[in-house]
């Protein structure tokens, strides 16, 4: 494939312009004319010392109630829909009582039927003492000191999957292949992931930053409470103080911050 004189001149002209532009850009950066945007918290941002979620299981009645919550999370976070259970990615999903609360089930096999048959929403527990953070060799998963969210840096993760072995809640998913073809509708506001990294719920840190509650809580129609566990006057503390609630595998000392409200007032 040859190029004629006209094309050559065109390319040469564009290249020259581009290099002048590039050089000008460099000069600007050098002289300090362009600075990195200084990071200021959005005044609307929601803040807490220790975020927590309480799920009132009595408010989840129909399959739609669960689906709404799960879809809200998975659509805004570009969670791929991979139908192969070996490779699926899940941030929030349902499991049976028996599977979610093994120790309770051993303790009492004759528990009320509605509990036995009820699906339970499960997600990352944002533990106060997270084993996944303890085992990660690169700090790609870390506990945010300001509010206790167990975060993921998907650009640092080397994909060793030590965190998956360390998490006793099965809350973590690995991208066994490129997830992008499996994203049904892309949300350009949230990053997609690449193959070879681990992901999980990050408690909608991106929504909290602009003053919104986590997507699951918003979609739950009052079925989920979200608030500061360190504040005795917060809604979540009040509801936990007045209702019987349980946590998953609390005996492991991970101090999970997701509560399941079982009893009434």
């Amino acid at each position: 494939m040859g190029i004629n004189r006209r094309d050559f001149l065109k390319i040469a002209g564009i290249s020259t312009l581009a290099s002048i532009g590039g050089a000008a850009g460099l000069t600007l950066i050098k002289s300090g004319a362009i600075e990195a945007a200084q990071y200021i918290d959005d005044p609307r941002a929601l803040k807490a010392k220790r975020w927590g979620i309480a799920i009132d299981i009595n408010k989840f009645k129909t399959p739609e109630d669960y689906k709404r919550v799960m879809n809200a999370c998975h659509t805004i976070h570009n969670v791929p829909e991979i139908n192969n259970p070996k490779e699926e990615i899940k941030w929030i999903w349902t499991e049976s009582y028996e599977h979610s609360f093994s120790s309770q089930e051993y303790a009492n096999p004759y528990i009320q039927d509605h509990l036995k048959k009820k699906p339970f929403l499960v997600l990352c527990n944002h533990c106060d003492n997270p084993p996944c953070v303890r085992v990660c060799p690169t700090k790609a998963t870390y506990k945010r000191e300001s509010d206790g969210i167990v975060m993921m840096d998907m650009h640092r993760c080397i994909g060793c999957r030590f965190c998956m072995a360390g998490c006793p809640y099965g809350a973590r998913s690995f991208n066994w292949r490129d997830p992008r073809p499996f994203i049904k509708k892309l949300n350009p506001e949230f990053p997609t992931r690449m193959k070879g990294v681990v992901e999980k719920c990050t408690l909608c840190y991106e929504k909290l930053a602009i003053g919104l509650k986590p997507a699951c809580v918003e979609a739950s129609n009052g079925g989920m409470y979200f608030g500061d566990l360190s504040d005795p006057n917060s809604d979540i503390r009040k509801v936990l103080a007045s209702h019987y609630s349980i946590r998953r595998k609390a005996e492991l000392g991970t101090t999970p911050c997701v509560f399941y409200i079982i009893g009434g007032q």
Partner: protein
């Protein structure tokens, strides 16, 4: 010294070529895994570590077991190990390299591997594992190479080497202890969560490593003029015997605690491995092959008359090696993930690409081993296979 690796017989070159072919096939499959992702393996959301990490665990043991010849020779001046010591040191080198390669091929984002050094994380056992494995590789290269080159020149090894030899003896158990800590400190993984795990690892390592060394010594003697010595081989046989017994004893301890306590979570994985759980029983046949091999090995090893027969000792060594390879290089890691955190069962079996990559890494190890042994043997042949003073 490296030049001696470039002069060899037809058999030598045929063997090297064979290994290169296996490496090549493994590499092609690795490229496929690199492009597509770890989805080409049999691993899953539930069984998130498989063949690669199992091989890594097993090979850390092989690497550590070098100390079984180094320690008696250097600390107790056990002369019979004079010639075989270099084979032990030179076995540790490819074993550690294979460990590192198995970690590497298991990574989802292998190009980011240096993040482990760029962001050193002192609370992660993985960080310490990197430190101890790297250190152990360095020590064995240094000690093996220096000792052999002094030998070639007919001089005593430098005095400072003694320090590194002692260090390598202390270092050896640490690599397998730290490797056990990768698993034994994970909340909710009841199959691994046992204070005994590191001890179990060391016991099985000190049986599987020397059994491989016996086989290698017999091969070296058959194909070269270098004789590691009958007494050395018999002494290794005793080491294998005691540690195989220890290993079985430790397994018994684990079975007692898991079943007598009656705590379900402690027995689920064991039942899955040896009997199958809720109709899931993919691993049961190989676990029973491991048990049968263990019994055969123990009969051949415990009865002195049988052990003294070199052919039977060789058979026993093969049995020990494969029994422990199945147990540790397969069942131990997979079993820890079954059942999963929700008491559900997802089974695991390696895929063709996974097995080919695994074989490729083993072939790299054997290639390095072959080259190192070729050098050691050539130098021994050159100086006339005389008694050496390290």
């Amino acid at each position: 010294m490296l030049e001696t690796a470039f002069k060899g017989s037809r058999i030598y070159w045929a063997w090297v070529l064979f290994l290169l072919v296996i490496i090549g096939i493994g590499f092609i499959f690795y490229l496929r895994q690199f492009i597509i992702g770890l989805g080409v393996t049999g691993m899953s959301r539930d069984v998130s570590w498989g063949f690669y990490i199992s091989q890594f665990t097993f090979l850390v043991g092989i690497a550590a077991s070098g100390v079984m010849v180094v320690l008696p020779y250097y600390l107790h001046n056990y002369k019979a190990f004079g010639k075989i010591t270099i084979l032990g040191e030179f076995l540790a080198i490819p074993a550690v390299i294979m460990c590192m390669l198995f970690i590497f091929v298991d990574l989802g984002q292998p190009l980011r591997v240096l993040n482990v050094i760029l962001y050193p994380t002192l609370n992660s056992v993985m960080f310490y594992d990197m430190v101890v494995l790297g250190g152990y590789l360095f020590l064995n290269v240094l000690v093996g190479w220096s000792a052999l080159s002094s030998e070639r020149k007919g001089i005593a090894p430098p005095k400072w080497l003694k320090f590194f030899i002692i260090l390598s003896i202390i270092w050896a158990p640490s690599i397998h202890t730290v490797t056990a800590f990768l698993y034994s400190g994970l909340p909710g993984k009841y199959f691994w969560m046992s204070a005994l795990l590191a001890a179990q690892f060391l016991a099985s390592a000190f049986a599987s490593g020397p059994s491989l060394l016996i086989l290698l010594a017999l091969i070296v003697r058959k194909f070269t003029k270098f004789d590691p010595g009958q007494e050395a081989i018999q002494a290794l046989g005793k080491i294998v015997t005691y540690f195989m017994l220890t290993s079985v004893f430790f397994l018994g301890l684990k079975l007692f605690t898991s079943f007598y306590s009656g705590i379900p979570a402690y027995s689920h994985s064991i039942i899955y491995l040896y009997a199958g759980l809720d109709d899931y029983n993919k691993l049961v046949p190989i676990m029973w092959i491991s048990n049968i091999l263990t019994v055969i090995a123990l009969v051949l090893l415990v009865i002195p008359q049988l052990r003294k027969n070199e052919l039977l000792l060789a058979i026993a060594s093969v049995c020990v090696f494969f029994a422990l390879w199945i147990d540790k290089g397969f069942g131990l890691i997979v079993g820890g993930f079954v059942p999963n955190s929700f008491k559900q069962i997802t089974e695991y079996w390696p895929t063709l690409p996974e097995m080919s990559i695994t074989l490729g890494v083993w072939a790299i190890g054997f290639l390095i081993l072959t080259i190192l042994y070729k050098i050691a043997v050539s130098i021994r042949e050159e100086i006339g296979n005389v008694d050496v003073h390290h």
